[in-house]
Symmetry: C2
Subunit: 324 residues, 2 copies
């Protein structure tokens, strides 16, 4: 059994709790929280423990899964807890991955622990597919499309506009762009040509819809470079039809092996719940990290460093006989 601890009980922490239940070789021991443990209603038999007591669990947990945010939580938490536990995180600030890696690697190596960062689907499974496809088709082009799915960052940006009560934003890949890639045309695609943005907005009483729409559509970085549609709806409608957190996307590589001989490798995800799926990826890599630590492999890893067999409950013999 792999004994799992969760740090942080938001959407991701609750997803990990569900994912552990789907894996009979795993045991959820404890959920660590910065809140008052008595205030947490969890959906499992895991013990709820104050973060202040986490050191007492050093010998009871094989892998601690860090479920905080990339902006402020993980840059501090992952190196800190990699001194005490084998850890898995979903750090997704692409530009800061090298720095984060170095910090976690040092902490883990000095304490004979094993860590893996940036696990999930992007970074994560999408990264894996970029690597495999690039290695196999060195003469080619990469394309990544996201959606259809809810962008938390864009939804938050709309909510900050004066007069907005609530909002959800969907990122939608442009079908004709996807099709152009699939036919091997190797198109050069602008930001606007790849994705559209669709916003469902609830206004506060007396707010100026025209002004809000204008402010959304011209917002730099977030919306100005995209074709954006804004729908004003009631709070009831938003809660009824837009409460899910679906997401997904496509990674494609189009490449040639000789003149006029083209190949398309396409990987796609269609996810009913972004946090539940991300959690499932975290848990499968927790299994790998627990094994590597037992083999005496220490330090920080990424999905690139993990042989696929480590993710599976099956032995190498079983994998060769049933999955190859």
């Amino acid at each position: 059994m792999v004994n799992i601890g969760i740090l942080g009980y938001g959407n991701l922490g609750r997803g990990v709790e569900k994912a552990v239940l789907k894996n009979p070789d795993m045991n959820l021991c404890a959920i660590f929280t910065r809140r008052n443990p008595a205030d947490l209603n969890v959906n499992s038999n895991a013990q709820v423990v104050s973060i202040d007591e986490i050191e007492n669990w050093k010998d009871k947990i094989d892998v601690l899964i860090l479920c905080g945010g990339s902006a402020t939580d993980l840059p501090v938490q992952t190196p800190k807890y990699a001194k005490m536990f084998n850890v898995v995180d979903s750090f997704d600030t692409h530009a800061k991955i090298p720095e984060h890696f170095e910090n976690v690697d040092k902490a883990a190596k000095e304490n004979n622990k094993t860590a893996i960062i940036s696990v999930g689907w992007d970074p994560g499974l999408f990264s894996l597919n970029r690597l495999y496809a690039n290695a196999i088709l060195p003469d080619g082009n990469d394309y990544t499309f996201w959606g259809k799915g809810v962008s938390q960052g864009h939804s938050d940006a709309i909510r900050r506009i004066e007069g907005v009560l609530d909002a959800k934003q969907y990122t939608i890949p442009v079908d004709s762009a996807l099709e152009a890639v699939r036919t091997g045309k190797n198109p050069e695609l602008s930001t606007r040509e790849k994705h559209t943005r669709e916003c469902f907005v609830v206004l506060k009483d007396g707010a100026d819809a025209k002004k809000v729409e204008e402010e959304i559509k011209t917002m730099p970085n977030y919306f100005a470079d995209y074709d954006t549609t804004v729908h004003f709806i009631s709070k009831e409608e938003l809660d009824k039809n837009h409460s899910g957190i679906p997401h997904g996307g496509f990674v494609l590589r189009s490449g040639k092996t000789s003149d006029g001989v083209n190949h398309i490798i396409e990987y796609s995800l269609k996810l009913d719940s972004n946090p539940e799926f991300t959690s499932s990826v975290l848990v499968s890599y927790a299994r790998a990290i627990s094994r590597l630590n037992k083999e005496g492999v220490y330090g920080c890893k990424t999905v690139f460093d993990i042989a696929p067999a480590y993710l599976s409950t099956k032995t190498s013999e079983e994998l060769r006989a049933t999955m190859l």
Copy 2:
């Protein structure tokens, strides 16, 4: 530089020759053949060498890529040459993989060589995707569809029918079945519901078309369980429109992380040339095998055992900075 040798110069051997040219860190040293070397017209500067002299190349080649067939060549060649070289093969007789693995593993380990078997897209990339998707979504169903593409085995079966001069058979996935999987319906699909078979047949003079068509459609294992269409065409038309060897397919997993929360992972390939793409996969794993041997990792491996980073020319630092 990784010094590559090729054994066997059919479609696959010619594909490997092209693939090596696309990889600047690789050098094609020699093509080994059972034929008279003087009779071989190769498309590179590689030396053409009789198979009888292969032992003289033991210290000049880092990886020997075996391009023979799975029925009779590879079961003998891979264990034999794993005693002298690091080797890569595309052995694809699924039921015999465990036995082949044991034979190659023993030969390689006894001689401090590194081998990898069953490399390509199925087995190979499709196997990888089955493993990753199963580890991430343990509660789900797997689906594999092949095509649209040419099946060599089915084309050969038609050619053996009396009255048939030549033939090409395409395996075609049924769109409605694929769509049913993509919507998360988890359908149970019969053989007939998953694929159709389309045959282009050139008759010999005086052959009975009706009889040939009947014989194709009722052929056990090959066609009887499928909806099969037969087109009779001229030899000129066959050569003009059906001379390529395209293939591809789809690996899907549909799985739940909690009640009513479903996810679809889909991987697909659309290949202009089956042998050229397979060759490109072989070459990327040759890079990995060469590295593992230098690290002192010996014995037989499969794609499940190779950490993805080993396939890439980039360093781990570069991969983290650019592809994660």
